[in-house]
């Protein structure tokens, strides 16, 4: 990466549109106690105080994002209204380097896909750097009348807004260009964090946001993604092309924590566990999260052909060993934040692109992670890492969520093979399962804002409506096979045989992303939570525990993808008690507070219930919005049933005392469906009860009082719904 004459000329043409200075103070025990507000429509820039109530009830990260968005919008604010915001906040623990996985930022906005509240987390440098520059959150409102670049200058303590003199649109180029512009020399590149999207975010509702981190070995800005829910689309709708943060230099204790030694002690022990055991466990340092591609296939959980099946005879062609041995560069520090011992941001170097505008270029591809391999691979019936990595690269640089895209294209292929759409509708693309070439062309069309690719960028919910209204498709069938809930596409796990995971997906606040709960092994394999009450307890504890990471600026993977050797002797090994205790210690070490593991859950409960009520304020968040597509629960078609007929027939016998012999499959499908849909309704009842909600999914006033979240503005909404 170097400053070319062409880039220098571009930079020289750039105009400064606004400059605003502030007085910098060091972070105090994880907080700046102020946030930064920028209106890109009128260039109003100001700082806002973080009150004690905000810290007590909302903690930071996603909590701050939700609070600021609530205050900034009305119940009927639309995603593309100027008053909608994109909020970025790392949380009080975010930015420490003594414990692994502490570089996360949380983005919050009203989603173009769900019309409700979206949150998405991402690694990379920007969030911590913004915090060290002086702010606990960045609140972006308004709409610019031209593309703008926002610069948070933590060296000279200024906020600047620039025009765009013609920088690249796509993130793999733009992140490098802006890093070069704002770093005085190559040594300063490590002090820069860039936020950007890409060409496809401008033409779709599913735009993703990239956060850069500097890779000193590769001498390049690499990218992590806040993918879910179209926040990149909101960013581009505001005509924000990029946001850059710069600090003077990374130092060991910029959070000025209360007790560094306690954090160091836990961090060192954790790092030693990673060093000693990662190779014997998940090989996160060698394969990243993609280590489970083949594991999921073995357990019939890898989505193939639009979630019809959980495995495939060609799944061995995308075994994670291939990534380790053929694609991922080994023995490099692939941490997306300082001090992370997990280092799971694996990359494929010198990958030669075969299609699209960068055909022939040799690039570094960030990933594929598990979700990407499943979404862009097996779920489309594609079992070829060359094709998956190519699509991975283009999704990232175009600003498209790989999870969302994988589920959308899988759905389109299912529609194509069922005759709901055809070549005439797709403009000549043959969207059969396994057709990697046409799937890639669909993605390039989306980036160009053309053809059927642009239509695909509407997302599954809107595509279903379009196919029913325009092409007379069977609405019930599309609702069964269209893998979305609340308007968000499912992430990449087959939940058919785990009732708890069906809830873990469809009962989420933002839509079916696995970051709230991943209970499939506990439920389906381990049989640890056999009763409705057991499942409800798991669907209380894990979503609350996992919400907490998003309040802090922490990475969930670090909690769960390595276990200490003595974990097996603990009473609750699935919770990894040593790591839970680490988190309590780290939070107390940063803030000087004295919480325990029970208060940790309470902190999350307050924010989780707030988000549920925020959804209700916007006309969502009720029981009917927790409904799932039937393909998430069971076999929709005869083909699906017969592919696992022995198992399903046995279930009819064991659970319903029905002899399947002699019954036509279509009848068995119907019996199974009635049973499974009834089970899901019972699960909803049990979980709502455990969470302190009414049967309609509304938080009870009494529960809000019990958890200390009985704020007047919340009672005003839930009171009439009790």
């Amino acid at each position: 990466m170097e400053l070319t004459n062409e880039l220098s000329e571009l930079i020289s043409k750039q105009k400064l549109l606004k400059s605003w200075s502030y007085i910098w103070h060091p972070v105090e025990r994880g907080y700046n106690n102020r946030t930064l507000y920028i209106n890109v429509g009128d260039f109003n820039i100001k700082e806002k105080e973080v009150t004690q109530l905000m810290k007590d009830k909302f903690i930071g990260g996603k909590g701050f994002g939700l609070k600021l968005l609530w205050d900034a919008t009305k119940p009927d604010t639309k995603w593309d209204d100027p008053e909608n915001e994109v909020i970025i906040s790392p949380g009080p623990v975010g930015g420490i380097s003594q414990y692994s996985g502490a570089g996360k930022s949380l983005l919050v906005s009203i989603s173009p896909q769900t019309d409700s509240i979206m949150d998405s987390n991402v690694g990379g440098y920007f969030g911590p750097f913004m915090k060290f520059a002086g702010f606990d959150a960045l609140e972006l409102q308004g709409k610019a009348d031209q593309d703008v670049i926002i610069y948070i200058d933590g060296v000279n303590h200024k906020i600047e807004i620039y025009d765009d003199p013609g920088f690249s649109s796509d993130s793999h180029l733009l992140a490098d260009e802006l890093t070069l512009q704002f770093a005085k020399d190559s040594k300063e590149a490590k002090n820069i964090g860039v936020v950007s999207t890409g060409a496809a975010a401008e033409h779709s509702l599913i735009g993703m946001v990239n956060f850069s981190f500097w890779d000193n070995k590769r001498k390049a800005a690499r990218l992590k993604q806040a993918g879910r829910g179209g926040i990149g689309t909101v960013m581009r709708n505001k005509r924000i092309k990029a946001i850059v943060a710069k600090i003077p230099d990374m130092q060991s204790n910029l959070n000025n924590v209360a007790d560094l030694d306690s954090i160091l002690e836990r961090g060192k022990k954790y790092a030693k566990t990673m060093k000693d055991y990662d190779d014997k466990q998940n090989q996160m340092r060698r394969k990243g999260t993609a280590n489970i591609v083949n594991v999921m296939a073995d357990y019939d959980l890898l989505p193939t052909h639009n979630f019809k099946f959980g495995s495939h005879m060609d799944a061995f062609k995308i075994h994670s060993d291939l990534l380790r041995d053929k694609y991922f560069t080994q023995n490099v520090n692939d941490a997306c934040w300082y001090g992370c011992a997990m280092m799971c941001s694996k990359g494929a170097d010198n990958f030669e692109l075969k299609t699209g505008p960068y055909k022939g270029d040799k690039v570094t591809v960030d990933g594929p992670e598990y979700e990407t391999a499943a979404g862009l691979g097996s779920n489309m019936g594609i079992f070829d890492y060359d094709a998956i990595i190519e699509a991975n690269f283009y999704c990232d640089t175009y600003g498209i969520c790989t999870i969302t895209w994988g589920t959308i294209v899988g759905f389109l292929m299912d529609c194509y093979e069922n005759g709901i759409i055809n070549k005439e509708i797709t403009g000549g693309l043959e969207l059969k399962f396994g057709n990697a070439e046409d799937a890639l062309e669909l993605l390039h069309q989306l980036a160009r804002g053309e053809g059927f690719g642009k239509i695909a960028g509407l997302g599954v919910r809107k595509l279903k409506k379009l196919f029913v209204e325009k092409y007379g498709a069977d609405e019930q069938f599309l609702n069964d096979i269209g893998m979305e809930n609340k308007g968000l596409e499912y992430s990449q796990y087959v939940s058919k045989e785990s009732l708890a995971q069906q809830g873990g997906y469809a009962m989420t606040n933002k839509g079916p992303q696995h970051d709230e709960a991943w209970l499939i092994f506990m439920d389906m394999v381990n049989n640890q939570i056999p009763t409705f009450e057991d499942k409800a307890e798991a669907l209380h504890y894990f979503p609350m525990f996992r919400t907490w990471f998003g309040l802090m600026g922490l990475c969930k993977i670090v909690w769960n993808d390595i276990t200490p050797p003595d974990n097996k002797f603990t009473a609750e090994p699935h919770k990894i008690p040593e790591h839970v205790d680490n988190y309590v210690t780290v939070f107390n070490g940063v803030t000087g507070l004295k919480i325990d593991k029970h208060e940790l859950i309470r902190q999350s409960e307050r924010v989780y219930n707030f988000q549920r009520i925020f959804n209700i304020r916007r006309g969502f968040g009720l029981r009917k919005h927790d409904a799932q597509p039937y393909r998430a629960a069971g076999p929709v078609t005869v083909e699906e049933y017969e592919s696992r007929a022995e198992k399903y027939d046995q279930q009819l016998k064991d659970k319903l005392n029905i002899d399947a012999n002699g019954k036509p499959t279509i009848e068995k499908v119907a019996i199974m469906r009635k049973f499974r849909e009834d089970q899901y309704e019972k699960l909803l009842d049990a979980v709502y009860e455990r969470r302190g909600w009414t049967k309609n999914g509304v938080p009870k006033v009494e529960h809000l009082k019990n958890i200390g979240m009985d704020l007047p503005e919340l009672l005003e909404i839930v009171g009439p719904l009790q």
């Binding site: 014997k280 998940n282 489970i292 357990y299 209970l519 506990m522 056999p530 699935h574 990894i576």
Partner: protein, 67 residues
């Protein structure tokens, strides 16, 4: 033989299996697991030498609650 595997009764063709063989039959490939046979913890290095017989209670906990 019939085993109680993760609190479910399951039939296996063989009358005797060691833990490694059981894992292969079940396609239990995830590496982060805890194995107990009749409430006794079995270390990974003992999977080959630990034999399971009819009526045994086997627990194989998969420690993935993440994703």
């Amino acid at each position: 033989m019939i085993l109680n595997l993760n609190n479910r009764e399951e039939f296996f063709e063989s009358d005797s299996l060691n833990v490694s063989e059981l894992m292969i039959i079940k396609k239990f490939s995830y590496p982060k697991i805890i194995v107990k046979v009749n409430d006794h913890l079995i270390e990974k290095e003992d999977f080959h030498s630990t034999y399971i017989k009819d009526g045994d209670k086997v627990v194989i906990l998969h420690l993935l609650a993440g994703g």
